[in-house]
Structure formats: C-alpha cells, structure tokens
C-alpha cells in the first residue's frame, strides 16, 4: 500500500528538563499522516510541554523532533515560523487574545500575513460556521462561555488549513454535550479532512468516542457520526499514556481497554 511516507510528527528519544525536574525522559513516538494520537497522563506529566515541543515553543535538551518529515530540532525561531504554518494549536482554555474580537482572533493568522479584508472575512465566516459559532463573530472573548471559547480557539487553529492540529485538553471543564461537540469536530477533521493530530485529554469519554466512532458523509450527503464497524477504522486513533517522563503505553483503543497495567486500569476507571 503506497502511503505518504512522511510522518506528521516524530519524537526520537526526546529529553526535556526544567532545572532539576525531568519532564520527558527519552520519549519516542510517531504520528502517522491522518492519525489522531490521544495523549493521556496525570496532570503535570508533560502533555502540554510535548505539544509546545512540536511547535518549537520549547526546545528539547536532547533527542530529535520531526514535523512533516523535517528535522526541526535545531531550527531558529524564524525557520520555525514556516513550520508553524502547517500546525494549528488549540490551547488549554483557548488562549484567545482578549483585546481582540472573535472575528479578529479567528482571522489573526491571515491578517498577520497581510491578506485582504475580503479574504479574511470569507474565511472567518466559513470557519466559524464549521464550529457552529457564526452568531458570535462580533463578540469579545470575555463575553463567551467556556465551550464557546474552546470552539473559537479551534476555529482560530483551523484557519490556513493546517495538516496537523494539536489539541490541549480541549474538553476539560466542559459539560458532556459540549465536550461531545468538540470530539465530533475532531472526528470531522480526522476523517473528512485527513488532518493528523495529537489530542490531549483526561476524559475517558473523549477517548472512547474518538476511538470507536468516525465521521462520514451519509447517502443523503449529510454529515454523520457512526460507530466503527471495520477494524481498520480503529487504526486511525492511537493512544499514548505518559507517566514520570516515560511512555508506559502505546497502542490502539482495544489494546488500551484490555491493558492489565494497574496504573492504566486505574486511569480508565
């Protein structure tokens, strides 16, 4: 099967320390094209840090980081700017620019690139429609609810159609229906747009939905979220569990649920 051989993201033996604290202690993994890697682990285990390493917001002490087949480990900030165009990041709590409106937040990347107003407006409207927030276009971030902020954050990450999306706990602190909406967005991007991603989450419901369901266009041409029926449909979602700087589990959903490791058992409860 001839497949795009360039991995979306690859970590090779990455070590990261903050002073005496070892956060990542030789972490290696691969995110294949079109794959969603669900990254789990207790709080403070270095999940956000891992995403920041992909973006080059932090640099590892040793090891290599590859993005879209390119070794970006030693890239300077100016070189990293080009790599970042391929990546959309959904920050924990949104990290919306609170001095800018929803419109300006979502259109930020285009505006910075000097796109004309017409193009920005068209893209912002289309992207907000995708996350179902057209009515909020002229609001300020302080007027939004938690779920809306996350969705604006997702919309902002989607502008420029990045092939890689990093989600940092996009469902944390949200009510179940809103969290579900966000997981469905991630499925749409994974299954219909071919986006590769790392999805950090604590919620086991997110993991179950992403691993066992997929988005498709049904016979009426409508978007539908359906249960996976064939094993290869499960393959697009893989799991990593981090603990004390090491990866203690790597594999697909079924392997995770049937894991006998007591720590993972406790985690899945």
């Amino acid at each position: 099967m001839p497949e795009d051989s360039r991995n979306a993201i690859e970590f090779r033996d990455v070590v990261l320390t903050f002073g005496p604290q070892v956060i990542l202690d030789g972490v290696s993994f691969v995110v294949r094209p079109g794959e969603t890697k669900i990254l789990m682990g207790g709080s403070g285990t270095g999940k956000s840090t891992t995403l920041k390493l992909v973006l080059g917001l932090l640099k590892p002490d040793s090891g290599q980081i590859l993005v879209d087949g390119e070794d970006v480990t030693h890239y300077k900030e100016s070189q990293m700017m080009k790599v970042r165009q391929k990546i959309g990041m959904v920050f924990q709590d949104g990290a919306l620019f609170d001095s800018l409106s929803v419109y300006q937040n979502v259109g930020y990347r285009l505006a910075e690139q000097g796109a004309d107003e017409e193009e920005i407006e068209e893209t912002v409207q289309r992207t907000l429609r995708f996350v179902n927030l057209e009515q909020a276009i002229s609001k300020m971030p302080s007027e939004l609810s938690g779920g809306m902020r996350r969705r604006v954050g997702i919309a902002r990450a989607l502008v420029g159609s990045p092939k890689i999306i990093l989600y940092d706990e996009p469902t944390a602190g949200l009510d179940p229906p809103t969290a579900r909406t966000i997981c469905e967005l991630a499925m749409k991007l994974r299954d219909l747009e071919g986006v590769s991603s790392i999805f950090v989450t604590h919620r086991i419901q997110d993991a179950t939905s992403l691993a066992r369901e997929h988005a498709t266009i049904d016979d009426n041409g409508e978007l539908a979220i359906v249960k996976n029926t064939r094993p290869e449909q499960n393959a697009s979602t893989q799991f990593i569990v981090l603990r004390s700087g090491k990866i203690i589990f790597e594999g697909d959903g079924e392997a995770l649920w049937s894991s006998t490791d007591p720590f993972i058992q406790k985690f899945l409860e």
């Binding site: 917001l57 900030e77 165009q85 990290a95 620019f97 910075e112 000097g114």
Partner: protein, 239 residues
Amino acid sequence: MLVARSFRGLTQRPVYVRETVTQMDIIGVGTLPITLLAGFFIGAVLALQTAKTLQSFGAQNFTGRLVATSLVRELGPVLTAILLAGRSGSGITAELGSMKVSEQIDAMRALGTDPIRKLVMPRMMALLLMAPVLTVFGDLVGVFGGWVIATTLLKLPTSVYLSSVHEALNYNDIFGGLLKPTVFGLIVAIVGCRSGLRTTGGTVGVGRSTTQSVVVSILLILISDFFLTKLVIALSSTP
C-alpha cells in the same frame, strides 16, 4: 538581549506601525494629565521653597532661575519617568504578564507572530519618543507653576521671573534635559516588557511582576540619573 532583538526587529518586516501609534496614544496622551498636574505643583513648590531661602540673601529675583534649572536638569526628567514607570511601565507588565500566563504569547508565536516585534517594539518606540515630550510639557507647566507663585505670593514682576528663567538655561541643560528622559523611557520599556514576558505563576505572578517592574524601573532611573548627570557635567566642562 531584548534591546538587540528589538532593534533588529526595526529593520525587518512587518513593522507594526499601527500598534506603535496606539501605544504612543496610550502612553503619551494617557500620562499627560498627571504629568501636567505634577509639573505644576512641583514648579509651585520649588518657587515657594527657593524664594524663602533666596529672600534671606535678598536674591529673590533669582527664583525663576532656580525653578527652571531644578526642573529641567533634575525634577522634570526624573519625576516624569517615575510617573511613567508607575503608570505605563506597570500597565505594560500587567498586560504582557497576563498574556504570558494565559498562553496568549505562546498562541501568538504558534500563529506565526514574533511577540518582540508585535508587542515589545511598539511599546519601546512609544516610550522612547513620548518620555522626552512629556518631560518638556512637565517642565513648561512647572515653570508656569513657579510663575504663578512668584507673581502672586512673592510679588515678583513677570519680566523679572521670565528673564531669570531665560538666563538659567544653557545648551547643556536642554541637551541633558532631553537625553535623560530618553534613557529613562528606554529603562521603563525594557524593564516593563521584560518583567511581563517573564511572568510565571498565574494571576499572583502577574501581581508580583508588576510590583517588581515598578520598583526596578524607579531604582534604575535614580541610579542612571546620577551617571547621566555626571556625563552631562563632564561634557559641559570640556570646552
């Protein structure tokens, strides 16, 4: 480091002109009222104090001279800079600090913007330009404040006061009076931005860096004032 990167930023695109103008507005126009108010009363107090001393020598005609030199050489630049540190420097640190702890700085970089160029540069330019301008306004109003006291309470004729002011100021005073606020503006900008961008530890951290920013700026202003004064004196004594 921050300075070097900021000036390098000037030569590269994009240059954020709109942000710079906004900051000049916030910093310049925003700080003008307190600068004027402070300047007026400092000038008035100077006139009161010096006139008393001068009177015992029968030299109250020199009131204008003392008011003007004190203001232009020392009090104008230093007090304006301290007001800027308290008002704009703290504001800059609080704003950048909140952006840092809420990951907005990271988000900016993730979206392809250099925060040094987008956030630091405009604030630095604005302070560099507005600090001398505000100081000049402060000086002028101070001289006016001194005049009000001199003519009303001390019954000095306006012409005596003004010619005394005029005699007092030489080229070196003006040069020093503009050099100092430029350096002080740079100090407030660098300390303010640096403290903001280095903030960690949530909202508590923002409070901590804001306090620290004001304290460090004021100390650096007072220390550098000493050396700048020495420099100006050294320059003025060379023929």
